[in-house]
Amino acid sequence: MENTASDTLTLDELERWLVDRVGEYVPDLDAPVDPQQELGEYGLDSVAVVAFAADVEDWLGIQVEPTAVWDHPTVARLAAYLLAEREQQRAATA
């Protein structure tokens, strides 16, 4: 895993990173993680959500509540939320 996301991160890149990362949590999938599929189906709903949110936090360099995964429960929706959140948090600290 790269240490941090680039400043010019796109939605596609973010989505790809999330797909890979979810895949690391669920290593025995026979197909790549589907961005439209509920993360709960992959076992990422409540048990591993804190660790996953910590990974996302470290990579994006922003504060991410684990409940964001509950509120945006697919990779596609989570990516959109995180990108907006990142812009907002960076604007706030700029």
């Binding site: 990362r21 690391e24 949590y25 669920v26 509920e38 709960g40 992959y42 076992g43 990422l44 709903d45 409540s46 048990v47 591993a48 959500v49 804190v50 660790a51 996953f52 949110a53 910590a54 990974d55 936090e57 470290d58 360099g61 504060q63 509540e65 684990p66 409940t67 509950w70 509120d71 429960p73």
Partner: protein
């Protein structure tokens, strides 16, 4: 009113014919009948006022005070403390939700002495909150509830029951909501009580159940948001897990008192039992467990005020460790008492078996040791070393653990589900360094070994691989090691924060601190060579005039008028 006043009152009530008369409570236990006299006495004294936050008209301001009060009751009878204190647990979700109308209304009822139950558990669902089958469906502006909550403390006696119900048929972390059900306001025949469950301990408590049969509740029964139930319950549990370890401390107080009397009067082979080294070491080990449990509990109670963002882990550690420490303490005292720990009718000792039976429930409710340890285990990656530390907002731990420190106001809106730092364990390096500058009785050697163990733990946490699902056994072991490291750090922090206490009997030469560190190191799988000598010293302390009430600060925290 104050903690020591309540303690004195309970002592008076414990005289023959009083509401806490051990003979009366033993009879209730035998017959499995509710200890109504004792609970009425507590109501009259005003204990329910301390379950309601000040801003809603009650006297709940500080968790260390709640500890003092529940501990004082539990030290006389654990069943009564469980039966009465349950209302605090049942109301926690309402205070944590921050909805002022619901809180104001519930506050009035609690202040008037109405018991409240907390309906989380369901038959055959274990501790998995997401598997709950009690449903709430919209019905006009209100809701209809169906299903069973069982076994639940106070389910029959509690006029109010705070229920976690499924509001999205698909469930999931956003599929549940919390409802405060006023049983008196539900249509006749729609709420049925399930019979009392026979239990091994706390036999006289109202452990029963409640069944909703399409029970209509009004719109204002919803607490918090639709779908916010799981998050709200997880946050409420952080508070209740910290509060309820006071029950363990009280049970420990009670057991040490019995053990001390026995050691002083019992003679074997022409010698007092107290003069046998083995007996003293066992007694000292029991004392060390009690004081370490107290250090962790006190730290957690203050953390709730000062670093609520960290309470998800602090509460899990506390609830996993404190009941375990005290259950082990009871086992040691039982070993000393020998046959008397088992007899019921022996004057002065008959209560011991009941304490041991009653206490087993503390390790179970509000999440068992295993449940709390797995919550910590799954959070460990968020605590891995080297995560960019966020600037600490508050004061250093050695400041807010000072006995006379006035804690910051409780702000439940700051509770979270993700720890980003651990102020207590994070201070370990500087605490050990400070101790080395002024080493009390060799405690610095023990502390240095704890620091090594903590370094090793960090390496192992950093190496954790991502994993969905329940934590692996190895991760659970790491969580347990984390608990022991935290406990040792809490003991060091309490020591450093309270120089004014360093000349108290249990503190001289770092005595209790050395006992606490020795236990933590044993928990981490090492056998510090100085352990036996430390436990012998603590055993002597218990048998001295200063051993009448073994506790860190001697007197409980005073409740501000």
């Amino acid at each position: 009113m104050s903690t020591s006043e309540l303690a004195a009152e309970v002592d008076l009530w414990s005289r023959p014919g009083g509401p806490f008369d051990p003979a009366l409570l033993a009879a209730h236990d035998e017959a499995e009948t509710f200890p109504a006299q004792a609970c009425a006495a507590l109501d009259q004294w005003g204990l329910p006022d301390h379950y309601v936050p000040g801003r809603h008209g009650g006297r709940l301001e500080r968790l260390d005070e709640v500890h003092g009060l529940l501990r004082a009751v539990a030290a006389r009878d654990l069943t009564v403390a469980v039966a009465h204190g349950k209302t605090f647990l049942g109301t926690a979700s309402v205070w944590a939700a921050g909805d002022s109308a619901a809180a104001a209304s519930l506050a009035r009822h609690v202040l008037a002495g109405e018991p409240v139950a907390w309906g989380l558990t369901e038959p055959d669902r274990g501790s998995d909150l997401l598997s709950g089958e009690v449903t709430a469906v919209r019905d006009g502006s209100g809701w209809r509830l169906s299903g069973r909550k069982w076994p639940v403390n106070n389910a029959t006696r509690g006029r109010f029951v705070c229920v976690l119900a499924r509001t999205d048929p698909g469930g999931g972390p956003r599929g549940f909501s919390v409802f405060l059900v006023d049983k008196d306001a539900t249509p006749r025949g729609t709420v049925r009580h399930l019979p009392k469950v026979p239990t091994h301990g706390i036999r006289s408590a109202d452990i029963s159940g409640v069944e909703f049969r399409d029970a209509r509740v009004p719109a204002h029964a919803l607490i918090g948001t639709v779908g916010g139930g799981l998050e709200l319950v997880l946050k409420s549990l952080q508070l209740t897990r910290v509060a309820c370890v006071a029950l363990s401390l009280g049970a420990g107080d009670h057991a040490l008192e019995i053990g001390r009397d026995f050691l002083a009067e019992r003679r074997l082979h022409g010698r007092r039992l107290a003069d046998l080294p083995h007996a003293r070491a066992v007694a000292g080990r029991a004392v060390a467990r009690q004081l370490l449990a107290e250090a962790v509990s006190f730290t957690a109670a203050r953390a709730a005020h000062e670093v609520p963002e960290e309470l998800s882990t602090v509460s899990a550690i506390t609830k996993a460790l404190v009941p375990t420490l005290v259950q082990g303490q009871l086992r040691l005292v039982g070993e000393l008492l020998g046959a008397r720990s088992f007899l019921t009718g022996v004057d002065g000792y008959g209560g011991f078996a009941k304490i041991e039976r009653d206490h087993q429930v503390v390790g179970i409710f509000d999440g068992s040791t295993w449940v709390n340890r797995s919550a910590l285990a799954t959070s460990l990656p968020a605590l891995r070393p080297g995560r960019r530390p966020r600037p600490g907002t508050g004061r250093p731990v050695r400041e807010w653990l000072r006995a006379d420190h006035e804690p910051a106001a409780l702000d439940l809106s700051r509770l979270g589900v993700m720890p980003r730092r651990d102020s207590v364990l994070g201070a370990l390096g500087e605490l050990v360094a400070a101790l080395t500058a002024e080493p009390p009785g060799g405690a610095d050697r023990l502390a240095a070994r704890l620091l090594d163990a903590h370094g090793d733990l960090g390496t192992r946490i950093a190496a954790l691989r991502p994993a969905a699902g329940l934590p692996a056994t190895a991760t659970m072991r790491l969580a347990e090691r984390y608990e022991w490291c935290f406990a040792g750090a809490a003991a060091l922090a309490v020591w450093a924060a309270n120089p004014q206490a360093h000349d108290r009997p249990a503190w001289r030469e770092g005595l209790w601190l050395r006992g606490a560190l020795a236990l933590a190191l044993e928990g981490l799988g090492t056998r510090p060579p100085e352990a036996n000598a430390v436990f012998d010293e603590l055993g002597r302390l218990l048998l001295s005039d200063d051993g009448a009430r073994v506790s860190l600060f001697g007197t409980p925290v005073e409740v501000s008028a």
